[in-house]
């Protein structure tokens, strides 16, 4: 089982390093093959909305040339688990993480279908990875925590993961507590993937 970890930390910050390392340890322990991208070390531009990944080279972004996004996006769909790591940003993702998320548009198919009474894009692939989203913040703000959970819930309706789970951590949390919380998430995903 493969897991792709996308670390959306800002350049020059190391807010997510500790949780990334704990996560890698615990995932390996649970039998996952991990691969991590610290996104700010790569050249990744946000989506320009040209829709070439839909109407010209379906499934592949050719609107933006020469950056590193496509090789990461390809790995997204080839893994069973996708992990987003982000500094909590007004309840949402950091710009670094958001840029690569936008470039996953080609993993979906254009057009619409109705799911639970709502319009959504079509699936391109039969199976999508489950998503774990971990946000880190200096000071826990309940409103932001709720927003982050809701964002993942909404985002998942458009991305079709078999399972999704969010956790918000504080930078001041000790290693043991983080490890314990990370482990519980991995267990839930493991159970979900086996039963799914």
């Amino acid at each position: 089982m493969g897991v792709l970890i996308l670390n959306g930390d800002h350049k020059g910050h190391n807010k997510l390093t500790a949780i990334q390392e704990i996560l890698e340890d615990e995932l390996k322990e649970a039998g996952w093959d991990t691969e991590t991208f610290i996104l700010n070390e790569y050249n990744i531009k946000g989506c320009t909305g040209c829709f070439k990944c839909w109407d010209t080279t379906p499934g592949i972004c050719t609107g933006i040339k020469g950056d590193d996004a496509n090789k990461i996006v390809e790995k997204v769909i080839q893994n069973e688990l996708l992990v987003f790591l982000t500094p909590l940003t007004f309840g949402g993702y950091s710009s670094e993480l958001k840029a690569i998320i936008e470039r996953m548009l080609g993993l979906l198919q254009p057009g619409q279908l109705i799911v639970d009474g709502e319009s959504h894009h079509l699936k391109r692939y039969e199976r999508y990875p489950s998503v774990l989203a971990f946000a880190v913040t200096d000071n826990l703000d309940k409103e932001e925590e709720v927003l982050f959970k809701k964002l993942l819930e909404r985002h998942s309706r458009n991305f079709y993961p078999p399972m999704h789970k969010t956790e918000v951590f504080q930078t001041k949390e000790n290693e043991e507590t983080i490890r314990d919380r990370v482990n519980k998430c991995i267990q839930k995903i493991n159970v979900g993937n086996k039963s799914g």
Binding site: C47, T89, S95, K98, Y125
Partner: protein, 227 residues
């Protein structure tokens, strides 16, 4: 004179619904005695520190900040998020400026915008001490064909609906009152939720993507990354 800054957050640039909205807003700002310059294209300012600073100066000098942007993956485009992050580093500068986001989505249901994107923008505004004067969610923005460069006055009944809402936004600025949070169905959901009509519209839409992909030599449902 009250100064307004228009932040155009579409990564598409000129040919976008967001830009069509900005062009109309600039026109009615002038008619209503609000001082404003050409919309600032965020995408042109996030790449370099110097250009980012130019944008921050313009924001700093404004009394009213209007952000016009599309919905990308249920929230703000990365370039807009980047701007929000940079603004947050100098948050004391923006206290009490009036802020209003106008967000459009291709999906006809405005709740795709109001469920999470608007609350995130609200959180951003309150964190920086900006005065939240309201928001406008435009569901079904695709109907105005901004993507092919159409202006609002070329958008028929759909465009008129949006222009009326924008007139109300500007009126609230002129009268120094709050606009409130409004969600506009550019394409009536009453019609969209009619089962037959919806089926027909979805069929047309899906067929159109399929045809375009075929014309460009592709297969719309290709799976290039399948292993």
């Amino acid at each position: 004179m009250t100064k307004a800054v228009l932040l155009m957050g579409s990564p598409r640039g000129r040919k976008s619904t967001s830009n069509a909205v900005c062009i109309y807003l600039q026109e009615i700002f002038e008619k209503n005695g609000l001082e404003s310059q050409d919309p600032i294209f965020i995408r042109n300012h996030v790449a370099s520190e110097e250009k980012m600073n130019d944008m921050l100066v313009a924001i700093d000098q404004a009394d009213i900040i209007v952000l016009v942007a599309p919905l990308y993956d249920d929230t703000s485009p990365a370039i807009v998020t980047k701007t929000m992050e940079v603004m947050a580093k100098n948050s004391s500068k923006y206290a009490n400026k009036r802020f209003l986001p106008i967000i459009n989505s291709g999906f006809p249901e405005p709740f795709h915008i109001t469920e999470i994107a608007i609350p995130i923008y609200h959180k951003f505004a309150t964190s920086l001490g900006l005065h939240w004067t309201g928001s406008l969610a435009l569901g079904g923005g695709e109907a105005m064909r901004g993507r092919i460069g159409k202006l609002l006055n070329e958008g028929g009944g759909f465009g008129k609906k949006v222009m009326k809402a924008l007139d109300r936004v500007v009126e609230s600025f002129v009268t120094n009152s709050d606009f409130g949070d409004e969600a506009l169905e550019i394409f009536s959901l009453k019609i969209y939720y009619n089962r037959v009509m919806r089926k027909f519209m979805i069929w047309i839409n899906n067929r159109s993507w399929k045809k375009t992909a075929k014309k460009n030599g592709g297969q719309v449902d290709a799976r290039p990354y399948s292993t």
